[in-house]
């Protein structure tokens, strides 16, 4: 049986929990793979190498930077799960802030802070075989990725806008019908358009889709009444680094 390992770096645990939230499939999965390393769920730890490693969390310490290298060495396939692992997560806000200031808010002992100036995605440290987006990841997508790797096929994880899911669900666009700002047009699909389904605008949990035209959306957000600070804030959350990068890339 192929072996599965789950690893945690700086994160909220939500993406790993998504695996345990697969209530209907968990025991089936356990019949298909050996869960060799999954601390949140088991005190049994089997030695590597592992066929598939799911990695949650971002790298924020030198120790973790070393640990991810070891995980990579032991993993045939390495899949990163969630915005922390694929983009550095919300804790990457420090990358753009005055770390001194952050430190003064939380820390009494500055000597420990030097190493924590950045939060970086796993792919900035080791090669990654597949990145599953989301803050948190979507359960169906997680199962799809695992099933696909087990079957040897390409996971069906469309790199397209949330709008396509919104429309397939037959939802009414909140931006057009209500003037509610929505990041759906530039955000990577995957959640199933959860926010428009509750009459709110998408806030970008899955980060930018490839080729997202951020300037065009930003213009629209301004027309809907958001000022520069507000526009800055909506992109500065869980995928802040990815949105900044997408914004710097000229639209194709």
């Amino acid at each position: 049986m192929p072996s599965l390992a789950v690893w945690k770096f700086a994160s909220c645990d939500g993406c790993q929990l998504t695996l345990l939230d697969c209530e209907d499939e968990l025991l089936t999965l356990a019949g298909q793979v050996t869960i060799a390393h999954f601390l949140e769920a088991s005190s049994q730890v089997l030695p590597g190498p592992y066929d598939v490693s799911l990695v949650e969390g971002s790298i924020t310490t030198p120790a973790d930077a070393e640990r991810i290298r070891q995980v990579r060495e032991q993993s045939r396939v390495l899949v990163t799960i969630g915005a922390c692992a694929t983009a550095g997560g919300i804790q990457a806000l420090r990358n753009f802030a005055d770390v001194e200031q952050f430190r003064s808010v939380v820390y009494a002992r500055p000597e420990y802070i030097e190493t924590l100036a950045t939060s970086t995605p796993i792919a900035a440290h080791v090669p990654v075989d597949f990145e599953l987006r989301g803050c948190p990841i979507d359960k169906r997508q997680l199962l799809e990725v695992i099933s696909a790797f087990l079957a040897g096929r390409k996971p069906d994880i469309p790199d397209t806008s949330v709008c396509t899911e919104c429309k397939r669900r037959g939802l009414t666009c909140v931006m057009v019908a209500d003037g509610t700002p929505c990041l759906g047009p530039v955000t990577h699909a995957g959640c199933g358009a959860l926010c428009p389904a509750v009459a709110r605008g998408c806030y970008g949990c899955f980060g930018p889709m490839t080729g997202a035209n951020l300037p065009a959306l930003t213009g629209q957000l301004r027309r809907l009444g958001m000022d520069d600070t507000a526009v800055g804030r909506v992109f500065a959350t869980f995928n802040v680094t990815a949105f900044r990068e997408a914004d710097n890339e000229p639209p194709h």
Partner: protein, 430 residues
């Protein structure tokens, strides 16, 4: 005991949420040191909440913890609404309580079945347990799923719900949308009652808490999503006084801040809630507790699994009650008017009390944030338990003693991910 130094060490605790380690030093038959080490890297939430719009607090603090996001969201809106005295419709409050019940059911079921029960039954995990007792594990998963179904329907998503906002919800579900939940919850109630009977039959090591208890208290009902504070020695105090009573202290040998209540070690969470608010549990929950051998207070941390099961019964019942009398709030949210001010919010995360405090400016921008998660409040009590459990069991082999220590920690379902508030220390691996 011979004159020697014993060191017990678990470098990565399993079946806890987040990354922690355990270190015990025993010298000359005396426990010199007992540490629950938190090496979860800090994520600076309090720092980057500064300068954010008040509406963002709900979405951002949710990301502190994927296991109890509703707790973070709730304490956040409680604090902000407290600052501005936002009048919130009872129907909205009911929907919020329903949402929180979902989190209790899901999180308690997770802890009972997937994290804690394997300890009592001698399995490394629930998957191994399922090999021998599949229907039992399936029951736990079904219960957990029922909780998640509430979170998904009311919150829009089980982890980091998207629907809640300061003032209420973006969209309130219709009664017709809620109806199918009731059906599922009726099954869940049976499962929850069975769960109480099941865990009541476990073997519980002897241990009695010796610390103060603190919980949220609400005059109207068993406190979950709002209220003020009650403790064992002090009948109650308002949430706005929280920081006058709770102080945080940095201890040299640990990464976390230790919270103390009026200078004393204290505990929050199921044991505290149960013991302090017992009278407000429903008759069914109290009967189930009695049948499971619990009295009106419970001081054995190992029995917390039973208390969790009883609380699960209560949460399912509450959810059913709320759905049964559901009146769709319209509009789904109150519209807060920002103003300069300070607000305090508390709520009962499945694993304990969660406090938020925000200082807001006239535009509704957060100027300062303080978040005190349950685990940092419980840490001193956990370590004290460790000390005592080790002292009482020095005759055990290292392996057995270590595993007893791990179980002791798991009694508290500590959620270490919420490192909003923890310090970083390079952990000494010996």
């Amino acid at each position: 005991m011979s004159h020697r130094t014993r060191q017990l060490r678990v470098s990565s605790l399993a079946r806890v949420e987040g990354e922690g380690a355990l270190r015990i030093v025993v010298a000359d038959g005396h426990v010199e040191d007992a540490q629950l080490e938190i090496y979860e890297p800090p994520r600076f939430f309090e720092a980057f909440l500064r300068g954010r719009a008040f509406r963002e607090a709900v979405d951002i603090t949710s990301r502190i913890c994927g296991i109890c996001p509703v707790a973070y969201q709730t304490s956040a809106w409680n604090a902000i609404e407290d600052a501005w005295q936002v009048p919130v419709d009872d129907r909205i409050s009911a929907l919020r309580r329903l949402l929180y019940c979902g989190e209790w059911i899901s999180s308690h079921a997770l802890h009972i079945y997937l994290l804690h029960a394997p300890d009592f039954l001698g399995y490394p995990d629930a998957v191994a347990l399922a090999r021998d007792q599949r229907p039992t594990v399936e029951r736990g998963l079904a219960l957990k799923k029922a909780g998640n179904a509430i979170l998904e329907l009311v919150g829009g998503r089980a982890i980091h719900p998207v629907n809640p906002r300061v003032g209420g919800f973006h969209r309130a579900p219709t009664a017709a949308e809620l109806a199918p939940l009731a059906e599922r919850l009726r099954h869940a109630l049976d499962d929850a009652l069975t769960t109480v009977r099941w865990v009541a039959g476990f073997d519980f090591p002897e241990l009695q808490l010796d610390c103060e208890l603190a919980a949220v208290h609400h005059p109207g009902h068993y406190a979950i999503e709002q209220g003020d504070l009650v403790t064992t020695t002090r009948s109650s105090f308002p949430r706005r006084d929280f920081l006058e009573h709770v102080t945080e202290r940095q201890v040299p040998h640990s990464t976390a801040l230790y919270a103390e209540l009026d200078g004393r070690r204290y505990l929050t969470g199921p044991l505290a809630r149960y013991s302090l608010n017992f009278a407000q549990l429903s008759p069914l929950a109290r009967d189930a507790a009695a049948a499971a051998g619990l009295e009106a207070t419970c001081g054995n941390p190992f029995r917390s699994i039973v208390v969790r099961a009883v609380e699960t019964v209560y949460a399912v019942e509450e959810a059913l009650r709320i759905i049964g009398s559901y009146d769709r709030p319209d509009p789904p949210a109150a519209d807060p008017t920002p103003g300069a001010g300070i607000g305090h919010g508390v709520s009962e995360a499945p694993r304990g009390l969660l406090y938020h405090r925000y200082e807001l400016d006239a535009e509704g921008v957060i100027r300062d944030a303080t978040i005190i998660p349950p685990t940092s409040q419980n840490q001193a009590a956990i370590e004290n338990d460790l000390r005592r459990i080790v002292s009482a069991n020095l005759g055990l082999e290292d392996a057995a003693l270590t595993s007893l220590c791990e179980r002791t920690i798991r009694n508290y379902d500590p959620c270490i991910s919420c490192s909003a508030h923890f310090l970083d220390l390079t952990v000494e691996h010996r």
